[in-house]
Symmetry: D3
Subunit: 132 residues, 6 copies
Amino acid sequence: MPTVKLVDEQSASPRVKAIFDDIKATKKIDFVPNFWRALAAHPDNLERAWNQGKSIMKDGKISLLLKEIVAVAVSVTNSCRYCINAHTAACLKLGLDQESLGEVLAVIGLYNQFNKMADAFQIEPDILPKLE
Amino acid sequence: MPTVKLVDEQSASPRVKAIFDDIKATKKIDFVPNFWRALAAHPDNLERAWNQGKSIMKDGKISLLLKEIVAVAVSVTNSCRYCINAHTAACLKLGLDQESLGEVLAVIGLYNQFNKMADAFQIEPDILPKLE
Amino acid sequence: MPTVKLVDEQSASPRVKAIFDDIKATKKIDFVPNFWRALAAHPDNLERAWNQGKSIMKDGKISLLLKEIVAVAVSVTNSCRYCINAHTAACLKLGLDQESLGEVLAVIGLYNQFNKMADAFQIEPDILPKLE
Amino acid sequence: MPTVKLVDEQSASPRVKAIFDDIKATKKIDFVPNFWRALAAHPDNLERAWNQGKSIMKDGKISLLLKEIVAVAVSVTNSCRYCINAHTAACLKLGLDQESLGEVLAVIGLYNQFNKMADAFQIEPDILPKLE
Amino acid sequence: MPTVKLVDEQSASPRVKAIFDDIKATKKIDFVPNFWRALAAHPDNLERAWNQGKSIMKDGKISLLLKEIVAVAVSVTNSCRYCINAHTAACLKLGLDQESLGEVLAVIGLYNQFNKMADAFQIEPDILPKLE
Amino acid sequence: MPTVKLVDEQSASPRVKAIFDDIKATKKIDFVPNFWRALAAHPDNLERAWNQGKSIMKDGKISLLLKEIVAVAVSVTNSCRYCINAHTAACLKLGLDQESLGEVLAVIGLYNQFNKMADAFQIEPDILPKLE
């Protein structure tokens, strides 16, 4: 049972409806994902989150695909079911092939292991050349 | 104080010394990072971890730089000080510029927020087209 | 499938039954939540956990509602499905309105993002005035 | 060593300087916290993060103090050193007394324990009355 | 919906089939757990992960049961549903009785609480006698 | 800077002093660890936490050493510096040798990796024989 009621497109207020339309147009999908429908229970949160996400998740200095790969890495490390599902699908839709996905998952697994081993040893960061 | 004694190159056993040499050659660095010096307290662990890391962290279907970016995303999400430091430096060494790093960090921050909001709502994953 | 068998009220031992009755009376509910039914598989754990929870989750210097809001913040950050559900419901039952819940969720989302960005930067805590 | 160079007020660009001034005025402090100085390495991130934070962290339906208490709960659960320090200080500055802080910490500890016990049992959420 | 297609024994390639057979023989089970069936979508990952797991999860200086108990502690702390289920079952199969399981769970709960309280206080590690 | 002032033995109230003495006697150490000195800022929390810890961390159905190993597994997975340090030291003091510690760390690393891979795949728990 969701913690808030999901807003559907039919009953959305004009303010929420406009954001729903922008979501569908920007993401080129024909439905409003549950994440945004849940956020719509609190329109200020919906607007703030959508504007933030829209301004970040687009091609920039790095590609949208690379950003979606980073989203998978974060979502897996946080064990977020909803987000793992959504961002893995986004990567595949943007052209990541299964073999490359396998490499991404291997790296994610590796560093979840190495991160904790580094913590276990309580080692200090290596002294590296300074940032210029 | 590290939880195990760091092994240094001078006092390393031949088995450990050979791995240390391979680490320096493979990573093109002139020192053995503390992570591997700590692992060397347990040579079986060192050998297993190094072989695993070496087989994953190389150019493949996706580039080593993309893999290092994934390593940063995992390490930040796990809040691993040692690894954030090491992998951010590796990204910069492999040519990631500061502006691109800024975009990576924005994506990492965004999904640490959105992951928890999705969890808060307890929403079900969207029904997406099947994997072929 | 739960990892332990849930104890039901009918088959509970007198020791467990007494705690179940105290749970229902204290929380003013007419069923024993699954959390306590699972803990009852190990009566020492049940008794210890219930006594601890009962002594903390009551009006004190800060109100029970504020404590339930803190419980939501912890549970969302830990992505605990069972607990998010239970403590969100407790907040609403204690009078938190939907708009206030929206503000709580916005703050929880914000700091899950900012926490990780602070970790990413590896910044030192600011020097603040001393605790008196 | 921070992962990015901290921007100081003297060398900040006019765009960054204006945000720094707004931070100091809004938070009624006479220095720019390291978090914002690090974000300033990427001015788009600084502007986006500051606007988001400013719009959330103010008195609303719930008080700023309650929001800072939620920030402490999130930051402790994420083990974020920088943020624990900053938000505990903010709570005390806003008038939370030591005894109340002790109650907040007890609740945070309690649910970090109970969250994991609930996960360990793999129990289903209780069936609760529907959200209206 | 799994993020990758689960490979079943009938359609597995000879390379994957050989690993599946080794998994069943080593673990003395008559089915291939979903974890390994999912990994099989990327045979390099399957081979690497299985070899790593097989070399670690066997009686050594410490017993396999103790290792499975450690696996439960890690899996609960990470809130990994699949793994909590699998490793709790493995402990019981290896002879851990319900009362001992209760003690393990109490310790896991205790330190998930104390870990966060220690983080909340931002205390320095105690000065302890040096490692020899 | 700790978030609360550490209480020292000289200035402790009689109630706190009695608990400090019990800590030293029970743990057979001649100083009060910082964790308990920080908790002492809130005597109710100190008393509750100490009583809980004392009742769990003793030989029972499973040994104190096994419990300390579980504490290491939890603390590493939570990346708790203070606790990793304290519980690794406790294991060594109770007789765990370096080689066994290496095996424990390998298992902890392994499952931090496998937990996240299982989450990445979004697989359902295997159907296992029922709990009796």
